[in-house]
Amino acid sequence: MGESRNQAATPELLHYRPWRGAFRPPIASVWPIARVALMSLFRKWMFWVIYVLGLLIFLLFFFGQYLLSWAQTQAGETEVQLGGWGRTNPRQLIQLFRGLLKLDGGPQTYHNFFSYQGYIVMIVLALAGSILIGNDLRFGSLPFYLSKPLSRWHYLLGKGLAVAVFINLMTTVPALLLYAQWGLLESWDYFYERFDLLLGILGYGAVLTVTLTLLLLATATWLRRTVPLIMTWTTLFFFFRLLASALVDGLRFSPRWRLIDLWNSTSLIGRTCLGVPPRPMAFANQPPWHEAALILGGVSLLCLIYLIRRIQAVEIVR
């Protein structure tokens, strides 16, 4: 040890100056955690196939709206012959297409868009749950986070933020782009007259974000592995949907049985947020939206309680 003491007496200094600034508060570490999680999501090439699919859906809506709007400006007042079916005004024909395809900047347009993108989001989240949080618990990456000056809440907030950013990048942000596009194509008055749609888009996005984020964090913390996570999500969002449909439509049970279908519940609330007019036949078999909201709120609360208990449990470190 004498030799070591002599060597230790002339230390080789670390190559950085002492830190004299103030450390940022632990809440500032939430974004870096989310950033790392998002990077790990975007690094998986397999997911890019699904992202491209989501992009195609967005482009379909975007250029659909654009082409129909452009075609309407090009159409004259002269009536055209439609084969043997008679003559019609092209503008009316385009208007008919817009109505049929729901590419008219109305509430149904955004609801459809959210529904299609929602499927993509569900698939990615089911696959990515273990990457985002499960593997940290399973393989022991958590000590790297928790040895830094932040709490478990900041860790979960960071992961939750990553999920929330991803959901909104896939749904709310492109929906807002469609909203902006329609206003620019048609009339600036659209932004003023249909401001409720903007709020509806944000509301629907918020419902999806809160519900899916909490559900993913809870299930990924609980199950950790990819396959059980996919099976659970498939059960929740696919088999329960089939079961609800069989019970209500097939066996004529109370429409309240549809409440076991969480995806239907989010859709119901989304319709309410956007102000989608009810379709008499299809909507007759639906429960009221406030019951769906109660169920989603209950599920979110349960997930939150589970996460609180899990955070307090010391076994979080394996």
Binding site: M1, S4, R5, Q7, A8, A9, T10, P11, E12, L13, L14, H15, Y16, P18, W19, G21, F23, R24, P25, P26, A28, S29, P32, I33, R35, V36, M39, S40, R43, N135, D136, F139, G140, S141, L142, P143, F144, Y145, L146, S147, K148, P149, L150, S151, V314, E315, V317
Partner: protein, 367 residues
């Protein structure tokens, strides 16, 4: 059992205070000792007080009391002794069921305490798609640094652990040694006062080990406190002679290896003394060895003497002595040698290495 905290010669020169030796598993720190959380700078760097942790019905850490201020302390013990649990408690990953752990006066569970602690875990589960530089920089951001400062710190620590030139590669392609370096780099980022290292030398090549040992010594010389859990006892001995031995969830002993060895009364120290006889006498060596053995048996701390066969190519006769209270024995031996004028060719203690001490203690604990 006497307590090293009370003994005047217990502390090392560069270590103001260390926890006490506790072979009989009773407490060494006054439980009424009050702590001033409001004035963290006055508090010891690490203070564990009667810390216990259960995993269901199994106790992981049992009434552990430990206090560290500076220098390097090795944490050794058999598998399942509770070392990793203790490290996790100290780094705030686990919360004790009983007792308290404080770092600079802050509860180890708090974020304030973690600003003083750097942790290098045993597991190396990284995000394999990231490069070493990206990983360390991400960790730097979690420490509370701005992006610019985080980059600077990252480059500094990567250079310090010898990874600056290899940090662009993805983590999945790293060897075990490179992973250890990256783990150490992320622990050093915020220049912590207390470094908790779980098996830091595992999987590192000899050159790398020497570099790490030098780095640890440098850090200790800069006033840092290092708590190193390791099974590499030989390497640990090169680093420090101050160890904490854990057995069955308890701190069985804390102190320098010599101090702990001195207290092992049930295991007299084995000392080999090679005696060289007077050259003019026939069988001079053997006669001298017998004379020394007889004299040694008269010493109060000697419990046994054995005459060994001489080595074929050496003109010495070895005597094997078993003695209690080594400190007093060596004083009396010195007097004896000077008075009787024995020519001692070599004096060697055979079982005072960390390995031997650990073996005695663990056997004692399991008995």
């Amino acid at each position: 059992m006497p307590d090293l905290l009370d003994s005047p010669d217990s502390g090392r020169g560069d270590r103001p205070l260390t926890a006490g030796l506790d072979l009989s598993f009773h407490e060494t720190i006054n439980p009424n000792h009050s702590l001033t959380v409001a004035a963290p700078t006055a508090a010891p760097l690490l203070l564990c007080q009667r810390v216990s942790k259960w995993y269901g019905p199994v106790i992981g850490v049992n009434q552990v009391t430990l206090e560290l201020r500076s220098g390097i302390t090795g944490l050794v013990g058999a598998n399942g002794a509770g070392k990793s649990t203790l490290l996790r408690l100290i780094t705030g990953h686990l919360r004790p069921d009983l007792g308290c752990i404080q770092v600079r006066g802050w509860d180890a569970w708090s974020t304030e305490a973690r600003q003083h602690v750097g942790y290098c875990p045993e597991t190396d589960a990284f995000y394999e798609e990231m490069s070493g530089r990206q990983f360390v920089e991400s960790m730097a951001r979690l420490c509370g640094y701005s992006r610019r400062e985080a980059r600077k710190r990252t480059e500094a620590v990567l250079e310090r652990v010898g990874m600056a030139g290899r940090a662009e590669r993805r983590l999945r392609g790293y060897s075990k040694g490179m992973r250890q370096r990256i783990k150490l780099a992320q622990a050093l980022l915020h220049d912590p006062e207390l470094l908790v290292l779980d098996e830091p030398l595992s999987g590192i090549d000899p050159v790398g080990r020497w570099e790490f040992i030098r780095l640890f010594r440098d850090l200790a010389a800069l006033g840092k406190c290092l708590l190193i859990s390791s099974h590499e006892l030989e390497e640990l001995e090169k680093l420090t002679d101050h160890i904490a031995i854990m057995a069955h969830g308890r701190i069985a002993a804390v102190g320098t290896v010599a101090q702990i060895r001195d207290r092992l009364d049930n295991h007299p120290l084995l000392i080999r003394i090679d005696v060289r006889g007077h050259s003019h006498a026939e069988h001079g060596n053997e006669r001298e060895a017998r004379r020394l053995a007889a004299a040694l048996l008269k010493l109060r701390d000697v419990v046994g003497v054995e005459l060994l066969d001489s080595p074929p190519d050496e003109s010495v006769d070895p005597v094997l002595v078993r003695a209690r209270n080594p400190q007093r024995f060596f004083q009396e031996l010195t007097h004896l040698v000077l008075e009787e004028w024995y020519e001692i060719a070599r004096l060697e203690t055979l079982d005072d290495s960390t390995q031997a001490v650990l073996g005695y203690l663990l056997r004692g604990c399991s008995a």
